[in-house]
Subunit: 467 residues, 2 copies
Amino acid sequence: MLTYSFSDIGSDSLYHHLYQCIKKDILSGVLPAGTKLPSKRTFAKNLGVSNITVENAYGQLQAEGYIYSIPKKGFYVQEISDLTPSTGTVSKQQTAYASPHRQFAADIVSNQMNPEQFPFSVWSKLSRETLHELHEELMETPPWGGIRELRDAICSQLKEFRNMEVAPEQVIVGAGTEYLYGLLIQLLGRDKIYAVENPGYHKIAKIYESYQVPCRYISMGNDGMDLQKLADSGAHVAHISPSHHFPTGIVMPIGARYELLGWATREKGRYIIEDDYDSEFRLAGKPIPTLQSIDMSERVIYMNTFTKSLSSTIRISYMVLPKHLLEQFAERLSFYSCTVSNFEQYTLARFIEDGYFEKHINRMRTHYRRIRDELLEAIKNSPLASRCEISEEDAGLHFLLRVDTNLSDAALLQKAKQAEIRLSCLSEYYHETTEDIPAHTLVINYSGLTSEEIPRVVALLTECVGE
Amino acid sequence: MLTYSFSDIGSDSLYHHLYQCIKKDILSGVLPAGTKLPSKRTFAKNLGVSNITVENAYGQLQAEGYIYSIPKKGFYVQEISDLTPSTGTVSKQQTAYASPHRQFAADIVSNQMNPEQFPFSVWSKLSRETLHELHEELMETPPWGGIRELRDAICSQLKEFRNMEVAPEQVIVGAGTEYLYGLLIQLLGRDKIYAVENPGYHKIAKIYESYQVPCRYISMGNDGMDLQKLADSGAHVAHISPSHHFPTGIVMPIGARYELLGWATREKGRYIIEDDYDSEFRLAGKPIPTLQSIDMSERVIYMNTFTKSLSSTIRISYMVLPKHLLEQFAERLSFYSCTVSNFEQYTLARFIEDGYFEKHINRMRTHYRRIRDELLEAIKNSPLASRCEISEEDAGLHFLLRVDTNLSDAALLQKAKQAEIRLSCLSEYYHETTEDIPAHTLVINYSGLTSEEIPRVVALLTECVGE
C-alpha cells in the first residue's frame, strides 16, 4: 500500500503535500501509467488524514491531468507522455484538458506556427484600433455570413491571389472549415454520397462519418482523384484539394479539372467541394486556375481558411457558395448565427484591407522556402542522403521522404516515439481497406520548424530510420 | 425604359454616376422592390455608354445589397427595408450580406447589447496584455475542449454563481451554443428522439430539424415542460431551460426538477440538456439549484453562454458533460478542433479570473433592473396601462405584456412593422400545430433599450395596440 510521511510538511497544507508526493512519484515513474490509486477512504485511513484531504489531492492531480477517474472504479495514473497519434486512440481525460502538442523533442506533423512568425505587433495594433473605434459595430449582430467588411476583403484577396471573381454575399465566414463542412452536409443533404480522397486528411472522412452520411474513399491517380473511380462510386459530392493534395502533394492539372467539372455537370445534384487550404504557399511553378473560377454551372463550392495562412489558433475560414446554393442556404440555414466573433472579423478585415495579409504571406513564403531549403540541404549532407528520395517539395508546407529501410512503418513510428520525434508516414493517411499502401514514406511537414531545430530533426530522423 | 443623363457628371466616373443615379431611384422608391433592371447590353446601348460601365455600376449596387441577380434572368431591385421576422421568409441576398437589425425605430426583440454597456476599456486592456504576454500560448493548438485557463475560470464561476462543482476537463468550449447543439446530436446520436419546449426558441427545433433527427414539441405546464407529455412522447433527450424559460418566463420548481431527473434515470440513454442561457440575470427571488448540481446519475448536460452575459457578438459558449459522455466525446469527437480562437479564450479567461466578469454582471443586473423599472413605470403612466397586464417580469431580460385588443396577432405585427418597431408576440414561439395559442401577448425584450428610448417605445406600442 502506497504511503507517505506527513511529519515534515512545514507550512504546507496536508492535501497539497499529498498532491506533491503523488505527483513526484508519477513523474519519476514510481507510480507507472495505469496504476490504480487506493480508494479515498482506505488511503485516508492508512495515512491518518481526513477523506477530504485525499479527495482534494486527487482532485488537483486529476485537474492537472496526472490521474484520471473511471466512474465506480476509482483513480488511475495517467500516461503522462501519452500522445494523440493522427489516427488512433487517445488518452481521454488528458487530451480533453492538456495541450496536444507539447511534449516532443521535434514535431514534423503539426501545422502549429512558430510564434516568432506571427505578426503580433500589427495584429495588436489593429485589435486595439478595432476595439477603440468600432464600439457600435462590434456590438451589432453580424449577418449570418459574416461582417460585410471581412467578406469584401476576402473577395479582393481572392481576386488578387487566385484571380477569382466572387460577389461578397457568396462568402460565408465560419469558425474553421470543420464547422463549414457540417453546414455543407446540412445544405447538400444527408441523402447524398460524399467522395473523399484516399489517401487524405482523416478529419474530412471523420466528419462525414460523424454525421452518418455515406462516404466513399476514392484512390488518387497521378492527376488527383481517379475520375473513373469517382464516376463508378455513385458519389454525388466530390470533396477534393486540387491545388495541393495532402499528403501526396499532387496538383490536379487543368485537363483533369475540366473533366471533373464535366462529371459534376453531367447529373443534377452533383457538387465539388474545392478545398484550397494552403494554396497561398505554393513555392514554385505557376498556379493553376481554381475549379471555382472556371465553373460556369454553379457546381463548385470553394473553401479556404486563415487557420493555415495566419495561425491554426485563429479560427476563421470561409466558403464561397454558388448563387443557387446561397439562396437555399439563406432559406434553410440562415438561422445559424455567424460563429466568429465580430472582434476578430473586424481585425482580420483590416489586416487584409491594409495590405498586411499580403505582406505576411510573402514573408511566410520566403521563410518557408528558406526552412525547406535548409532542411533539404541538411538531409543531403546527412547519412540519410544515400538512403532516401524526396518528392513533392514545391508546393505547400510538406514534402515526402521515401527511405530505404527494412523497418515496417509501425516500427518506424515506434522508434520515432521513443526518440520523441512526432512523425507521420504516408501510409497513415490511407483508408484501412486500401491495397498497395506505399511504405517507408515519411510526410515531412516543416511549417513549425526553426533553422535551429533542423540539425536535431535530421539527426533524429537518421536515428529512427537507421537499423 | 430607364434613362439617365451623363451630361453633367463633372469629374465623376461614368459607372459611379450611373450607380448613384440608380441607387437614388431605389432609395426614393422610383424603382420599387422587385423591378427588373434593363439587361446590361440594352441599357448600355440606350445610355450610350460601354457594357463595362453598366456592369460595374450593377456590380457595385449588388455588392451593396441594392440589387440582386437571378442567374440567366437578370438584375432585380432588392427590398431594402425587408426584415427577417423571427419565423419566416427572408430577403435572401440581402440578409446574407447586410446586418439584420439595423432599420428599426425601436427594437424589443433583439438581444443585441447596447454598446455603452460593454466593458470596452477593460476588454481592450486584457486583449492587449494577452497579445503582449502570451505569444507562445496564443500559437499553441488548444485542447479540443478549449484552453485550460478558460475552463478553470468557468469552473470557478459556476461554483460561485451556481454553486456547481465541475471538473475543468468536463467543460467543452465552443463557438456558440448552436454549434454545441450540433456536437451533442453527433454525440448522443441521430437515432434518439429529442423533445423541445413548446413554446420555445425556434432555433433549437430548427437545428434538430436541420440535422434530420426526430423532434417532439412538448407543451409547457405551469412548472415547465409537461412531464406526462414528455413521458408519453417517447423522447430520449429533453432540451429545456428550467432556470428561465423563453418566452413564458417559467422557472421550473425544485419538485419538477427531481421528477424530470426521475424520468431521465428511468431508462438508459435518456438525457437532459439544461440550457441555462440567462441565469445570470435573475432580478429577484432566490435561484433554484441547477439540474446539473443535483444530478447524481450523469444524465444532465449543462450549457451556458457568454453571448448573453457579455455580448451576442462574442461567440463563446460551453457545455459541461457528465464523465461517461466526456469519454465518449473524447473517443469519437475529439478530432474536431476547438472553434474559439485562442486570443479570445485567453482574454475571456483573464476577464473572469481578474473579477471583471462578476463586476460586469452586477453592473448589468443593476442596469437591466433600472431599464425594466423605467419601462414598467412608463407603461403604467401611459394609455396602455388600462388595457394591459404584465407578467414574468422578475427573471431574465424580458416580460410578457398581455393587451386587451380586438386586433389579431398578425394585425398587431403588421402595425408594428408600419410603425418601424420590431416586436414579437408570444404566439410566434409556438409550434404551428399547437392548439390554444395565447393571443395578444407581447414578448417585451428590454435588453437593448436605453432610458432615452423608453418614451418612444411606449408611444409606439400604444399606437400599435390602439384601434
